[in-house]
Symmetry: C2
Subunit: 204 residues, 2 copies
């Protein structure tokens, strides 16, 4: 690697580190490229030699967040009895805990919107889709005769339902609930959804 390329790679990592710290501390709205530039010791404009734009920078931080979430979901998956219902409850609780422990970084995953004329790059989409396997696998065990596509739809619904409980449960305003109660409710609702889906499947 040339000296220049090496320096550029290091600066890029420092920029992503600084952006990650800024989002963690102040949320997505607290991300100011001018401050990041100052922090890593480059001129304001030089930030755009390291990343194409703020969207790319936020997506790179998001990619790190998703990788850490992935690791925690994997740990939850294997940390207990393999029965699919129990695994889905553990995964949902691990998601809740991750959000609570990484509140602003987790929020940034959902709050960030690309500039209107730009699409999410393929690598970011595949980072996200990859996480669904944690829900897909237990569902495939519960519904062995369903097509993959159908299971993917149920996985999205189940994820969205748990995400809604976590998002509103951790929100400061209307629905904020103590974490212990939120975890209990997530357990109850995931079990209820699984029971109900299995019952509907048996009855059809």
């Amino acid at each position: 690697m040339s000296k220049t390329l090496e320096r550029r790679t290091k600066q890029r990592e420092s920029l992503i580190d600084a952006a990650e710290n800024a989002i963690r501390a102040k949320g997505l709205a607290g991300l100011k490229t001018r401050e990041l530039a100052q922090e890593i010791g480059v001129a304001n404009g030089a930030v755009y030699n390291l990343v194409a734009d703020v969207d790319e920078l936020v997506l790179m931080v998001g990619s790190r967040t998703l990788a850490r979430l992935d690791a925690e979901l994997s740990a939850a998956e294997s940390d207990g009895p393999p029965a699919p219902e129990a695994a889905l409850v553990r995964i949902a609780l691990a998601y809740c805990d991750f959000a609570a422990n990484n509140l602003e970084l987790w929020r940034a995953l959902f709050e960030h919107r690309m500039a209107p004329d730009k699409l999410l790059p393929d690598w970011a989409i595949s980072d996200q889709m990859h996480l669904f396997r944690h829900i897909h696998q237990p569902l495939a065990l519960l519904f062995p005769h369903r097509a993959t596509e159908e299971i993917s739809i149920t996985a999205r619904s189940l994820f969205s339902a748990v995400h809604g409980m976590v998002a509103l449960g951790l929100e400061q305003k209307l629905i904020a609930v103590p974490l212990a109660l939120l975890r209990r409710e997530i357990t109850t609702m995931v079990k209820a959804m699984v029971t109900g889906l299995v019952a509907a499947s048996a009855g059809s």
Copy 2:
């Protein structure tokens, strides 16, 4: 009413109208008090004679949105068989339809955050809590022996789960699904949750 007070009341209504239109068209981020002032024909600073601050203005628009949502949920509640499961499905679908038809105004209800040192005023909290009766009533029929407080917790969980499906389903990025599929999935999941909750209750 004095002439001055009358004029002030009219200007205030015009300001809320203008803010509502701006949010509907451009989202919460598109709300600029300078543009609103121009639109209703007052000086920039005069906006703050009509409302205390932007937070208050956004909450007033939110109050109108919640009132329209309330009317649509009431209509859905009475428009079909009174069985609680069917009523909960209709209410969830009405919520989904309202969000799809009022996307930015509905988003603004959840995206808006008060300035860090300020609390949500009591009237805004009571506007929001009032809506929960639509979910509370059918749940009370399903679980006649449960305490009101317990039912309120389940109502929040059920709402949060449906809200998550709607929010991610209507989001442009990752999980966007066609509205017909989203409605079908909401129907499936609400039925599953009710079946599962009733089964757990019978088993306990």
